[in-house]
């Protein structure tokens, strides 16, 4: 037995020894075949952003070249700044011209002195949280995009840097509050912003904005509904979510994500500001009673009948709650 085992061992050893030099000779031959002085493919890969190895820790630290930044720069400094700036100026000029032509849209009849509640306390708090945070975000955002070209040459480097630093921090901290106010406002106002058959008529007559003739509407006319769905819901969420991704870079977002999201943020925000310039205009100097309705929560009966006739009829039919009636008279007495 021992003899057989020994001979098997010897045989195995002989096979191994015979096989080893062959394997050793094979490996370098393969290496030599792959090794080439032409590194074109390697550099092509590096150029396309393929990551290598590095001892430096951090997201994308192994990426030698990230090309997306150039696209981002071209878009941001190019069309977004140019057309965004033109759009903002155009909207401001259009509003100015409209105001010069029409002035404040007054009530056609005398006010009755009887007040109806249009917005309750919670709705007003939600609206003004949204409004104040929006204005802070819009101003600070515009300073970051256009300030270098508009403000910096006027107020100088040091002062502008301070302003931009305050703006940036306000923007980053107020942003999440804006999203919160959007979510609350959505649930508060969504039921009065659903499509009604009468909205078609409002669209056909462009809200009577040019003719001056009022189109009957429910609590919110189609213009307000558009502002709600396209402005607050669509743009609001697009800008907020893209903003949050940039606001919390500590989740390892790559530059690619940040660049894409920044473009969405900038385009959305510029559209949003253009839209809100119109909203702020009509809510303040554009229309009599509009600002007061959100400030006090109450409108005159004559205002309600003129601007939101269907809603007025609906509210009129409901028996007034004692508490609300009390509030109404108090506000009437105050004004």
């Amino acid at each position: 037995m021992k003899g057989i085992l020994a001979s098997i061992q010897a045989l195995l050893l002989a096979i191994l020894l015979a096989a080893m030099p062959v394997a050793a000779a094979d490996a370098p031959a393969q290496v030599q075949a792959k090794e080439t002085h032409n590194q074109a493919q390697l550099w092509r890969d590096a150029r396309s952003g393929q990551a290598g190895f590095t001892t430096v820790k951090g997201p994308e630290s192994g990426v030698l070249i990230q090309s997306g930044g150039e696209t981002w720069r071209e878009l941001r400094n190019g069309p977004i700044s140019l057309y965004g700036g033109i759009a903002l100026c155009a909207v401001a000029v259009a509003i100015g011209l409209f105001y010069l032509r029409r002035g404040m849209i007054k009530l056609s009849g005398p006010s009755t002195g009887r007040q109806i509640q249009r917005f309750n306390g919670v709705e007003r708090v939600a609206h003004w949280s949204m409004a104040i945070s929006f204005v802070i975000l819009a101003v600070s955002g515009l300073v970051l995009l256009f300030g270098k070209h508009v403000l910096l040459p006027v107020i100088g480097y040091t002062l502008f840097s301070w302003l931009a630093a305050i703006g940036k921090n306000l923007h980053n901290f107020v942003g999440p509050l804006f999203l919160l106010s959007i979510i609350v406002s959505f649930f508060l106002f969504v039921k009065d912003n659903v499509w009604k058959a009468e909205d078609a008529d409002w669209i056909a007559k462009a809200g009577g904005l040019l003719s001056g003739k009022h189109v009957p509407s429910w609590r919110f006319n189609f213009g307000e509904k558009f502002m709600f769905w396209f402005g607050v819901v669509f743009l609001g969420l697009a800008v907020s979510i893209s903003g949050l991704i940039m606001d919390f870079p500590n989740f390892g977002q790559t530059r690619d994500t940040l660049q894409t999201v920044n473009i969405i943020h900038a385009v959305g925000a510029l559209l949003f500001v253009c839209l809100m310039l119109g909203h702020i205009y009509i809510g303040t100097i554009g229309m009599e009673g509009a600002y007061a309705s959100m400030r006090t929560g109450h409108v005159d009966e004559a205002w309600a009948k003129e601007h939101h006739e269907l809603w007025y009829n609906q509210v009129k039919q409901q028996p007034a709650e004692p508490a609300k009636a009390g509030q109404g008279t108090a506000a009437a007495a105050h004004s």
Binding site: A46, G52, F53, K148
Partner: protein
């Protein structure tokens, strides 16, 4: 006037990270910030190459173009520097830079990044040369001392070259000529524009 440039010879870089260490030590760079790093491509595979990368001091620098407070400036020697007093830490330079050169001491929530820090080509900042403030914010100003960047100066294999663009490209050109790899170096396809030939050339 010299035009300052970095050039890393990938045929020479041995990934020793000496440049990274030299930079960190020379400028007392804070934790988490690396003005320079070595990236190895095809690591562990035949044909791997390493490149030391930092701010490349671009002529048309993207960081400069997108900075909302215009805190960047380019010296007469083409070195891209920035003013940390003006920097608001918005991170846009980091978005724009293809090389990942701009670094931030923090990576916190609400975009609290701190002031941006990057390679200065050992040329300090806008403060008075060799002043304590300059040293604190940007590290040593070797260029004002008549010295070149330390990373390149102490590169053991002289893979990393830093200095006047004309001088370093002459050194590199000479190396390429001496290596004399012929058509294989630039590739048959590059030289003669035939794809099939390029594949055969690559294999041989």
């Amino acid at each position: 006037m010299a035009r300052m440039k970095f050039l890393c010879d990938a045929e020479r870089c041995i990934e020793c990270n000496g440049c990274v260490t030299a930079c960190k030590n020379e400028h007392d760079v804070p934790w988490g910030v690396n003005r320079r790093r070595v990236v190895t491509l095809n690591d562990g595979v035949p044909g791997e190459r390493s490149v030391s990368v930092a701010c490349m001091h671009c002529t048309d620098a993207p960081c400069m173009a997108v900075c909302p407070v215009d805190c960047f400036y380019q010296t007469e020697e083409g070195v891209v520097l920035h003013d940390k007093d003006l920097c608001i830490g918005c991170g846009y330079c980091f978005y724009a830079c293809p090389f990942g050169a701009p670094q931030f001491p923090q990576g916190g929530a609400f975009g609290m990044r701190g002031k941006m820090d990057k390679c200065t080509f050992c040329a300090g900042g806008p403060e008075r040369d060799h002043s304590a403030e300059e040293h604190k914010k940007y590290g040593r100003n070797r260029l004002a001392e008549g010295k070149l960047p330390l990373c390149a100066e102490m590169c053991a294999t002289k893979a990393l070259l830093g200095g006047d663009a004309e001088a370093i490209s002459n050194i590199y050109r000479e190396r390429v000529l001496k290596r004399g790899k012929g058509a294989d170096l630039i590739g048959w396809g590059t030289a003669y524009g035939k794809r099939e030939a390029a594949k055969e050339g690559g294999k041989s």
